[in-house]
Every structure is written in C-alpha cells, then in structure tokens.
Symmetry: C2
Subunit: 207 residues, 2 copies
DNA sequence: CCACTTCTGAAGCGATCACTTCAGAACAGG
DNA sequence: CCTGTTCTGAAGTGATCGCTTCAGAAGTGG
C-alpha cells in the first residue's frame, strides 16, 4: 500500500523496514522503555522523519502492532482456529506459543507485554489488547468444542477449560518476561501439556 | 526495631507509616510510575527526608517489599503451606489470591508486578522475585503432596500440576493488571477452581 | 546558654523524555 | 532554470526524572 510520491523530496527510508525495526524494539525492550532516540538510532531514521511519517510514538506503535497481529494470527491463532483437530491443535498451539515467546531472548508476546505495561488505562492500545484476548480465548474454545464433538474429551466445562488455557497463555508470557529460567518455563509448559493430555477420554479402538 | 534517637532533631514522620504509604503507591501505581515527587506528596514527607531515611528509591522499595512479603506470606502462603488440607487448601489459596489481587482496584500482587516491570534484568529485585516464585511453587507442591498422600488425588504428575497452578497465579495477576473485566477474571478463576476439583478422585465412603 | 548532631524544606542539579522548529536538501512539473 | 512540495538533520522545547545541596530548624548533652 506504499504509494509512489508525486512531488517533493522522496522519503529516504522504507516504511515497512522502519515498522519492522520499530516492532522489534517495542517487542524486545517494551514500549515505554524504547525512547524516540533509540528508534532514531536503530532505524537509522531521524526523529523528525519518524514524526513526519507516523505522527507520534503511539501511532508508530499502532502501525507496528498491525503488522504484529497479522503475523501472530498467521503463526498461532489461525492454525488453532482453522485446524480440524481438537486437543492436538491446542497442544500444537502451546508448542508454537513456546517458540514464539522465547524465540530470541525473553521477548514474550507484544500484545500481552503491552497489556502488562499500561496498567489497564483506557487507551486505544487497551482496546486492542482486549480484542486480542477475546480472539485467543475464542479460538481455544473453538478447538475444545471440536474435541468435545469428536468425543475426544468430555463435553463438559468447556468454558472453564478454555479460560484455564487462556490464563496459562498469560502466565507463560509473564514468566518469560519476568526472567524465569528456561527450566522454569519448560516446567510450566509441561504442566500445561500434561493437563491437556489428561482431558483426553479413553478412545474406543478405531478400526 | 525503631530505635529512639539520642542526639539531633527528631524525625518528623513515622517510618512504618511512610513505608506503608510507599508500599501502597508502588503496589497500585507500579514502581517506575511512582515518582519521588508522588511519594513526597502522598507521604507528606520531603524528598530530602526520604532520601536521608532510605537512601534511594530502590532501597525504599526494598524496605516496603519486606513488609509486603511478610503480609502476603501470612495471608496466602503460610495458610497454604501449613494447612492439614490438600485440595481444599489450594482452593482456599486461590480464593484468597482472588481477593488479594482485586481488593481495591487492579493492584495485582506487588512481587509479580515487579517481575513484569523490570523485564528480567539482574537486579536485587529480580533475585527477590525469583525467591518468591520458588516459595509459592513449593507451597503449592506441598499441598498437592498432602492431597496425594491422603488419597484425595492420584499421586501422579504432581510436578506438572504444581507448575500449572503456579502458571495460573501469574496469569491471574497479569489479567488483573492488564485491565481484564471482573467477569473475565471470574471466568479464569472458575476455570482454575474447576480444574482443581476435577483432580479429585472418587472417595470411598468414610464411616 | 552553648556546642553538636540530625532532620527538614525549598531550590536546583544534570539527564532524559516525547516532540517541535527550521533551514536547507531533493525531487516534480512547468 | 525556477517554483512548489516534501523530507531530512541538527538543534532545541518544556516537562519530568531520580537525586543532591544547603541553610536553618529542632532536638541532645554539657
């Protein structure tokens, strides 16, 4: 959606590259901890140009967040939501989540990091994190529904179980961001996977 | 442990009162978001006096944290650890936790808030939050052990289950701090309690 | 009362924050 | 080349940060 300019000096940097670099900073260092000077240095773009292009630090975050949500949706949420599988889709989701939030360092999930940062003030960011929470919880519920319909798990307490799983998504994130060791994270992850497996009913032999 | 002074002008404020007020601010607003000017205004104590008494903002936090840990230990961890009960002690723990982190507003647990704030840097605070994590996880494990020994639950996957529970402690906190609605928190809490109940084995009729 | 010590209040320190200003650079169309 | 437009670089805005300075207030023991 980058339109070629018609008149005036052409922009000296690529908008998408800048957004990706800004996303990386906000994600790894946090929104508040990333100063406009940090952005200037890492992106190699003068503050003046950044403000000219994006308006404010918050709008830059919003634009970076658009890109982030598209990616995490493709990598984690859509596979969970669109899978034909039940419990296995959820187990895969948590495996993917594990990789996603620990990929290089203690970066966690940007949306959940933001949720933890702003302390629940009523900002545009808060509204987006709320929407994201609903989306993830709903995808988990959908997968549990599939598992129940196929007889993989008992068709009871689906609401409670999806809430439990969603709570674990949040818990894993804060454990990662809070500096828990790899072993600690692994332990929690094992606890989740074990619990998901424990929901599985004994299956009648197929075939 | 407040020693009466021997010479010089007596302090014009009460150390314990000041620590309690500072604790309240750090807890509700966050450590970083609480400025020394906020402390001055809320405590009614000049910055100069605060620095004279405590040394630095970080040391003031450390002193407030001492008080906080004593209280949360008495209110939540000791009852869990010292109870003769198994699952019921854990259920009570989560009920108490719910009250503790939502008591007035979205305050969460100070230790977990700090864990989320400093991003895992290796500070004195990080070391204390690590110690606290170990303590809570161990108390949960102890309670599960009691439940297993009394035949209340199967004596399997105790490590995984305690990790799961601990992850939920973290998840509930971030949900509260992140501005989740009362209904959302209640949903997650119900998910946890339901899961704990689901671990209970059918009991032989006693009597 | 005096010398000594400790604590207080106001003012101010340098650093850093998000953001702005403005002269001039770099292009287009005429 | 000239005019009009957009973008860039360096400098600087006021606000706020954690923390310090220092004169003087408020006590003590002699």
């Amino acid at each position: 959606m980058t339109i070629a300019h018609a008149r005036g000096r052409p922009r000296g940097f690529d908008l998408d590259d800048a957004l990706d670099a800004a996303l990386e900073l906000f994600w790894r260092e946090g929104f508040r901890a990333t100063s406009t000077r940090d952005l200037e240095a890492t992106l190699g773009v003068n503050q003046s140009s950044l403000y000219h292009a994006f308006g404010s630090k918050a709008e830059l975050l919003a634009a970076a967040l658009d890109r982030y949500e598209r990616r995490i949706d493709a990598a984690l949420v859509e596979p969970l939501e669109g899978s034909p599988l039940g419990l296995e889709a959820i187990e895969d989701f948590f495996s993917n989540l594990h990789r996603w939030i620990t990929h290089d360092g203690k970066r966690g999930c940007l949306v959940i990091n933001l949720m933890a940062e702003d302390g629940g003030a009523d900002t545009a960011i808060t509204r987006r994190t709320r929407r994201y929470r609903r989306r993830v919880r709903s995808a988990l519920h959908t997968a549990l529904d599939r598992a129940a319909r196929s007889g993989e798990i008992a068709p009871t307490a689906l609401d409670e179980r999806s809430e439990l799983l969603f709570g674990m998504v949040l818990g894993l994130n804060i454990a990662v961001r809070g500096g828990a060791s790899r072993a600690e994270i692994g332990g929690i992850m094992t606890g989740v996977q074990q619990q998901i497996g424990a929901w599985r009913l004994p299956q009648p032999a197929t075939e």
